[in-house]
Subunit: 269 residues, 2 copies
């Protein structure tokens, strides 16, 4: 299958001027689809890109499933433009998509993962916070900090040391039996699974300084494609162990989140 | 002429994972070329992208000139990658380029321009500051703040109110006869003309709070393609006039900068 292409003058390439979504398809049907569409629309509105019509967005997944699980990636760019930042007039956004076969890392659901704290600190930019735009160099830089395959994710804080997210997942912690996740009004990507869990009343937003994270009862990283990975080991920026977290045989948070994604509950070992 | 293309999985498109240069060609010869190459190399090193070989970089401008002045745009991306932020292994960066005929806005050299202060404040990200990477949504958002063609540029400050740059140019001011430009170690793009002027001893780095800008003796915005535009009118975020600056018939700063670019001196009217 040939990949869609964009020309040199596409503003998605030139400036990261666009948004994207990564959607789990189960038997060809998109999971948490209203949340993905809502974020895509909000992102386009935030950037001032005309939203592609609903029919075009829906058409991206309405082909025949080639596997029980796939990932659908959508990109919306502002389209081609001239030299310079001034907007193309009239605008002609591009909507591109690709489907690939997917298999979640089931062993991480069961066994949990090691995560480390990244050295890179996210900059504040309230004008772009929360949306899944194409300017992701901070995430790329953070992900370059380690190559050890034993480390599943990196946690990102802002320049004030407040926890924000993981490089490609949101982060959650339990304190006094309640589950929390950081507000994302200054930086970070507001995941669709995160949003759905907040809407269900299962998670609340709260700020947390990095240094308090080891004292939390439990920590998870999660997104709408991979599901929920319980964190069993938290490493510092220097890869020193800061804390080991105990898992339960019945992880209620994971079970609830996986129900939203259609993943079967997986008792921890 | 068909434009070069990149596929859907190119990381320049997916994450803005790359750098670019915009180079003035005079009779087919690149102007300030060593500065452009140096910034391109520094940008690649900063992002951990293997630098394209010198021969490939040089080949981008070694065609026949189609006009006395052209603009050469180069893009280097990290190349194609899988889903996720982890680096492609082995890396296969892409180098793309395009030449277009160019004519500078000579009347702006002579008559000066109106600039406004943008509402958007740049976030700090020291890990990416100074390089000309493809994550330019802040510039795009700032450029969207006005459509009035009488406003030539927008000035950008950081979240502490310190002046940084213009949306696609660097900014310079004169105080007690000396010319200054902001340091760019926390945000902003370090222009090649700016660098050359600093290397010549014509400009020094200094911090300046936005509110002090109207009190400066003169203000200019400049880049290596358009040259130097003296600012005659400074507008606030609300488009209220904060200051009118007087021009000289002989603008020494512009003359010096234009000599570096091969533009003839243009006495102001």
């Amino acid at each position: 299958m040939t990949l869609p292409q964009v020309p040199f003058d596409d503003r998605g390439l030139a400036y990261g001027d666009g948004v994207f979504e990564t959607v789990l398809l189960r038997h060809g049907e998109p999971v948490l689809w209203p949340y993905h569409v809502a974020r895509l629309v909000r992102g386009c509105q935030c950037l001032g890109i005309p939203t592609p019509c609903q029919a075009a967005i829906e058409a991206t997944w309405q082909g025949k499933a080639t596997a029980p699980l796939e990932v659908l990636k959508l990109i919306v760019t502002r389209g081609s433009g001239g030299r310079g930042y001034a907007l193309p007039d009239p605008p002609a956004p591009r909507l591109l998509s690709q489907r690939t076969v997917f298999a979640p890392m089931v062993e991480r659901w069961k066994n949990g993962v090691t995560v480390r704290i990244c050295c890179l600190r996210l900059g504040h930019q309230p004008a772009l916070a929360g949306i899944k735009h194409l300017n992701r160099l901070e995430n790329v830089m953070a992900r370059q900090e380690w190559r050890d395959a034993m480390i599943a994710e990196g946690l990102l804080a802002d320049q004030q040391g407040q926890l924000v997210e993981a490089t490609s997942m949101n982060v959650f912690w339990q304190q006094r039996g309640q589950v929390f996740t950081p507000p994302l009004d200054k930086c970070g990507v507001a995941g669709t699974l995160r949003r759905a869990l907040i809407d269900q009343g299962a998670v609340s937003e709260a700020s947390l300084s990095l240094e308090l994270l080891p004292r939390m009862e439990r920590v998870w990283v999660a997104n709408s494609v991979q599901g929920v990975w319980p964190v069993h080991t938290l490493l510092s920026e220097d890869n020193v162990c800061l804390q080991r977290f105990q898992g339960d045989r019945h992880d209620k948070f994971q079970t609830l989140a996986h129900r939203l994604l259609g993943y079967a509950p997986t008792p921890m070992q």
